[in-house]
Every structure is written in structure tokens, then in C-alpha cells.
Symmetry: C2
Subunit: 141 residues, 2 copies
């Protein structure tokens, strides 16, 4: 291995490594602010509140989780009493999901906390940098 090749690749400056660590930090901040549910459960629950009613797989698609993952997440949210099941009269394969009353209460409570978490996550950046960062991040998807 040449010296140039060595300097050429330093783990600590790689996108993947940086994104993994940024994610770690965000999740740590999340659990500092919110006890009851995880970031993933939060995403699923909020999306369900946005959509009011969907099937399990559709909720998974809306939150970028595959069928196996969303199943576990929904199971846990249901166990905690945040999701209610109903049969779809038009499609016997589907399980229609709805947020429970408790879920709506949680939704209200969590919105301000979610803003705090966003703020804390982006705190190392100036207002202008925050906007740029979010714009570029969106482009990456």
C-alpha cells in the first residue's frame, strides 16, 4: 500500500461513517426527550395520525420500513395501546390500522418535544446552515 492510498481513505471522514454517527447522536437526543416510544415508533405513529387510516404495509411504505420491520413496530405500538385494528371489508388481506384516542393525546404532547429534538440535533449549525443542511439531505434521498 502506498502512502497516498493510505491518506486517501480515512474512515473518520467518510459519508457513511459520519451519517451513522449523526444518526446515533440524534437518537440519543430523542431518548433524552421522549421515554415512551422510539424514533421509529414515533415515525410510524405520526404517519398514522397524518393518514388517519391505512393498512400495515402501506404505513410501512409511507415511513420507509419494509413489511417485516413495520410489523414489529405496529405490534409494539398496538401492545402499548396506540393502534387499533379493523378488518378491511373490501380486501380480506388487509388489516386497517387507526390511531386510538390515547395515540391522539400522545400526538399532541409529542409535537413540542419533537421540535425540541430537532432543535437540539441541529444546534451545532447556524440557522442558515440548518436550512442548507436539510435541503442537501433531502436531495440525497
Amino acid at each position: 500500500m502506498t502512502n497516498s492510498a493510505k491518506k486517501d481513505y480515512v474512515l473518520d471522514t467518510q459519508v457513511g461513517f459520519l451519517m451513522r454517527r449523526a444518526n446515533q447522536r440524534h437518537q440519543a437526543l430523542f431518548s433524552d426527550h421522549i421515554d415512551d416510544i422510539t424514533p421509529t415508533q414515533f415515525a410510524a405513529l405520526f404517519k398514522l395520525c397524518e393518514l388517519r387510516e391505512t393498512s400495515q404495509n402501506a404505513l410501512g411504505r409511507a415511513t420507509a420500513m419494509d413489511a417485516a420491520t413495520i410489523k414489529g413496530v405496529v405490534d409494539r405500538l398496538r401492545r402499548k395501546g396506540y393502534i387499533h385494528n379493523a378488518a378491511d371489508p373490501n380486501d380480506q388481506r388487509r388489516i386497517l390500522l387507526r390511531p386510538t384516542a390515547t395515540a391522539w393525546e400522545l400526538y399532541e404532547t409529542l409535537i413540542p418535544k419533537a421540535h425540541q429534538i430537532t432543535k437540539a440535533t441541529l444546534a451545532p449549525l447556524s440557522k442558515g446552515e440548518q436550512t442548507i443542511f436539510l435541503t442537501l439531505l433531502s436531495k440525497l434521498i
Copy 2:
């Protein structure tokens, strides 16, 4: 819930959600280019090559993995023949890790692929945007 509160928080524009999806995309690109090992294993292996020799927990710290996580990663890399164990004469608690000859070969092979993955991940951004993105991302850690 007021209408303003509703519009106030849309999941798809939140940092956490965006970072999770950007990470998903990066990992998908990674496995498109590299079959043998995962992004996490890659990080551990490369850091070990950078350090030449360390203990398990120290390697974990250097790659931002806790003790339980790095244990599994090291176990899998050892099973694949990339990591060699030695006893630390100065500290009986420690296991000194070293990359095997095969690991060094892999290291060489993977550097160009790693560059391709970085390039593909950042492809949606212009050169200038890529620099800005990496700078801001670093600040977030």
C-alpha cells in the same frame, strides 16, 4: 389540534426521518458494491488496519460502537478470517486484535470500491454541495 399545529409538523421533513432514509440509501449502495462484509464490519476492519493493533473495546470506541456491539462485529470478522487474536502481556483483561494478511488484501481491494460508494451516495449533489454537506455533517457530531 389546530390546523397550524398540524402543518407545523410533517414527518417527511424532519431531520431524524431524513437522516434515517439517507442512511438507508447509503447502505443499499454499499451492498450493491461490496458483498463480503457490511458497512459496520467495514468500519471496524478499516479502523483496525489504521491502528494496526488494539483491544476490542478500544476498537469499539474508535468506531463509535459500544462494547456489546463491537463484540459481535469482531466475532464475525474473526470467523471470516480477517482478525487475529493475541494476549496482552501487560493486561490480562485485554484481547489484542490485529488484521490478518487476508484482511490487508481485502483492505487494498476495498479502497477503490469505497470511493465509488461515496461517489454514488453523494451523486445527487454538485461538487460544491458535497463539500458543504460533509462539512455540516461533521459539525453535527
